[in-house]
Amino acid sequence: MTAKNYAENYKGADLLAVAAAREVNDGDIVFAGTGLPMLAIALAQITNAPNAVCIYEAGSIDGRPKDLPASVGDARCATQSSMCAGLTEAFYGQLHCGYVDLAFLGGAEIDQYGNVNTTVVGNYAAPSKRFTGSGGNPDINSFARRTVFIMVQEKRRFKEHVDYITSPGWVIPQWPSGEMKPKKEVYGKFFNGGPSAVITNMGVFRFDDNGVIYLDTVHPGFTPEQVKDNCSFDLNISRCKGETEKPTVEEIDLLYKKVDPEGIFLP
């Protein structure tokens, strides 16, 4: 194998997509949401994971879009798919059935246990702001063996406690009591896994054995301290093993020429 030719010029979103793509193992069955996750799986399929397949919640399974879909319900998702059904098939026939290895999702707010909020700001009963809502985020995340969240790094988004737990992390409330428990206890024999990585514009985060987030690698141009300063909770940076691997020239090339030539997610 020849030495990699790393790119010098790339945008934050490029690194996000590339780092996310590298989380895909070859052969993974990936359930991806709209946006950067679509870029990441598309890139992975033409680089490190040619045998990975992608499920979209609108019902296309292992599609081979000729043109990048703009959302998971897009007609483009269906092109040359192995199955094209609906949500019942995607959520129950595939996800609840246990086929999904990797979930690729986004989020507005996250806490140190990987609990994600995409629903409201403030008290849900009287919110100050409404986001889109859960969509399939908590469903896909709750049953996939691994979940990768792709997010924007801001102090107000990396919180001690999120305002509303839309999507379950490693320590979650068990209803009706609401007692906080490890996900494994709440899910019993339905437990498959949980969040494995969070990728932001500043670094790559993972979770320790207690389900607590820590900084794994910091993106080129940032310091672990800067990342810590952009979290409201006391981020563990002691395990940071260095810089995130840069995108290669080839990866950037593929992203802009093959994956998103129209500039849909990469302006």
């Binding site: 709209t34 319900g73 019942t88 702001k129 839309t166 339905f190």
Partner: protein, 325 residues
């Protein structure tokens, strides 16, 4: 030999009563029965109860016009063309709309139960989230779970231990059985057989779960044609109560193999929807400013529709500009 009951858009919307529970075909900004949405706004429907597996531009058009009182769903927005559902958000924040959040798969479970005539459907998805927080049972807090409204279940959800294999707790999600399914389908047969192209979303389930079904057909075709490949059809004629034949009846949402999403139109609506005044101006132009669907299409213009027209092989427009390059 079945037959279809063809009616006009005005007649169809006239059948919907204030306070009725509605659900729709499609997915976010794809295959929504927009012509009916506009006509319901024109006719000033009030206090509608929407159960939607997911919301979209159609939800925002209804919510912005003040037609919606109850909204049960998991998501509302315009995908890439409008980040949030501003009208629903405003309704929730201001308290004019009672919002009951479920997860996407919870909504599917509720609709599947309704489609199969089951009172509930089990699921282990999205446990351990605030969706299940009893404090956030908004219909319950509003006193709507007393059994007086047969369309509203006594509980938001239930939890039982698995009695069969001891796998642990599992959720039971209550059935959703709307008064009306308002569906847009690409092809309806002259005996009522329904076919949608590409992803089927939850269209088949919506049709079964609803008491009455109105379908906007992009085109009406011979049933015998649809019956040559029955595995591609999602409903039989006896499941359909009324049919309206309307070209571009889903615009600005997309219709696979007929036309693409009108991104510019949705972006403009989204900007307008950020304020009540903005919405009003937009509605005055695009809903109240046109008396009929035909006037709406004329206003859009031939070239705009041609740009959106799907490539008949690919199923989507290969000429519309989608991104920045």
């Amino acid at each position: 030999m079945g037959k279809i009951n063809k009616i006009t858009l005005k007649e169809a919307a006239g059948l919907i009563n204030d306070g009725d529970m509605l659900s729709f075909s499609g997915f976010t900004i794809w295959r929504r029965p927009m012509a009916m949405i506009y006509e319901m706004v024109r006719q000033g429907k009030k206090n509608l109860h929407l159960f939607e597996v997911n919301g979209g531009t159609h939800t925002e058009v209804l919510a912005g016009a003040g037609c919606v009182k109850l909204w049960e769903s998991c998501w509302v927005g315009h995908e890439l063309y409008g980040k949030l559902g501003e009208a629903v958000a405003r309704g929730q924040v201001e308290g004019t709309i009672v919002v009951e959040d479920y997860s996407h798969a919870h909504c599917v479970a509720r609709l599947l139960a309704g489609a199969y005539g089951l009172p509930f459907f089990p699921t282990a998805l999205s446990m351990g989230t605030d969706i299940l927080n009893p404090k956030f049972d908004m219909f319950g807090k509003a006193g709507l779970r007393d059994g007086s409204n047969p369309k509203i279940p006594l509980k938001k959800y239930d939890v039982i231990p698995d009695p069969m294999y001891g796998k642990g707790d599992i959720l039971l999600m209550p059935a959703a059985n709307p008064d009306w399914a308002i569906v847009y389908a690409q092809q309806v047969g002259d005996e009522g057989t329904v076919r949608v192209l590409a992803q089927t979303y939850v269209d088949a389930e919506v049709i079964k779960a609803a008491k009455k079904v109105i379908v906007i057909a992009e085109e009406i075709v011979p049933d015998s044609y649809l019956r040559d490949e029955p595995a591609l059809n999602i409903a039989t004629g006896y499941a359909i109560d009324y049919v309206i034949e309307l070209p571009y009846g889903a615009h600005p949402t997309g219709s696979q193999f007929f036309y693409d999403v009108d991104a510019d139109f949705i972006r403009a609506f989204y900007q307008a929807s950020k304020s009540g005044d903005g919405y009003k101006k937009w509605a005055d132009e695009w809903i109240f400013g046109v008396a009929t669907h035909e006037e709406y299409l004329e206003k859009l213009g031939a070239n705009r529709l041609m740009k959106l027209k799907a490539n008949s092989v690919m199923g989507y427009s290969t000429t519309v500009k989608r991104g920045t390059r």
